[in-house]
Symmetry: C2
Amino acid sequence: MRYEERFETVVKSAASVFAKRGYHRASIRDVAKAAGMSVAGLYYYCRSKDELLFSVCYHSFDILLQTLQRSLKSVSHPEEQLRVFILTHFEYFLTHVEAMKVVSHEAGVLTGEFDARVAEIKRKYYLRCQQIVQAIVGESDSESPRLRTTTLALFGMINWVYTWYRPGRDDDAKGLADCITELFLHGVKPRAETGG
Amino acid sequence: MRYEERFETVVKSAASVFAKRGYHRASIRDVAKAAGMSVAGLYYYCRSKDELLFSVCYHSFDILLQTLQRSLKSVSHPEEQLRVFILTHFEYFLTHVEAMKVVSHEAGVLTGEFDARVAEIKRKYYLRCQQIVQAIVGESDSESPRLRTTTLALFGMINWVYTWYRPGRDDDAKGLADCITELFLHGVKPRAETGG
DNA sequence: TACCCGTTCGAGCGTTCGCTCGAAAATAAA
DNA sequence: TTTATTTTCGAGCGAACGCTCGAACGGGTA
C-alpha cells in the first residue's frame, strides 16, 4: 500500500513542521517540502491544513490512549496505576516530542467537528487519570471541585514538560516519572518527617 | 500625556486580540480595530507586530515580578513564602488572563533582542521561585537536577491553569493557591496518615 | 502496442498579510 | 491669526498565504 505509507510520511512531516514553526507560522509549502512533494501533491492526501493538524493531534492522542489502556491492564493498585500513568505519559511524550508539542500547544486552533473529536479523546484521557486520582485520595464524588483541581494540577506538571525538557540535561522518562509521582503523592515535605 | 494613554490602549488591545485569536492568527488590522484606530495610526505607536507582542509580554511579566517582590518582602518563612508566591501568581493570572495567556502561550515566537529580554525576566521569576523551593526541601546545591525538576513541576501546575480555568466553575485565586500549596508541600497522600 | 488509473505537479487564482507613504487633521505654541 | 508639532488615516505595495486546476507521469494489465 503505497498510499498509507505516503500518508504517514505526510502526517509525520506536518507534525515536525508544526512543532518547529508553530501551526500558523508553518505554511503548507513547508509541509510539502518536508514531505518531499509539491503542494498540489500534498493535497492528494488531505483536504485542508486544518485536517492535517487534526490528523496529527488525533492520531497521536489515539495511540497514547491505547498505549495507556494496555499499560494499565495489569495494574490494580491505585498508587501503582498512577506511577504507570505518569511513566507511560512521559515515555510517549519523550519519544513523540514534536507531535505532542503540537497536541499540547495548538489545542484550540481546531473548530467544529475536528475540535469535537480531539476534545472527546482528550476527555477520555483526562477521565482515566481522574479515576486514578479519585481512588488514591478516596474521594467519593467524581464531580468534586477539589478532585478536578488536583487532577488538573497533575496534568499541568506532566504537560508543561514540553516547554522545558532538554534531552541530555534532564533525566529520562523513568527518572522524571518517579520524581513527579513521589511529589504528587507525598509532596516535597512529607508530614511524617516534620514531626520528628 | 495623550501619547502614553494611547500606547497603553494599544498594548491592552493587542493583548486582548492575541489572547483571543492567537498571535499569528491575529492580524494587525484586528488590533487596530480593537484599539479604535487605523492600521497606519497603529504604527505610530509601534515598529512591528513582533514589538507589540514583546510589549505585551514584557510589561505583564515586569509588573508580575514587581508585585511578587513586594508581596514577599515581609515574609521570611519558606513555606509561607511558597504560599504567597503561588497566591500572588494566581491573583495576577486571574486578573490579567488575556495578557498572561499570551505570555504563556506565545513564548518562543519572539526572537533576537525581544526574546532575550523576555527570557531574562522570566528567568528572574523562575529563580526566585527556585530559591523558595530550595529552602523548603533543604537542598544545598542550586544546580541539583532534582531541584530543577521539582521547581518546574510547580511551574507546570501554576502555568497550566490558563488552559482550563473557568471563572464561576473553579475556585478563586485564594482557594486554588491553598490547594496547590498543600499539594506541593504534602502531596495528596501524606505519609503521616498512612503509617497508622 | 494501447489503455488505465492511482499519483504527481507547474502554474496560478483570489485573498490576506505586515507594513509604508504622503498628506490631512488635530493640537499646541507663537 | 500664523506657525510648528503631534497624531491620524486612505490607499496601496509586494509578499506569502491556502488551495485548485488540468495535464502529465508511471507501473500494471490486456
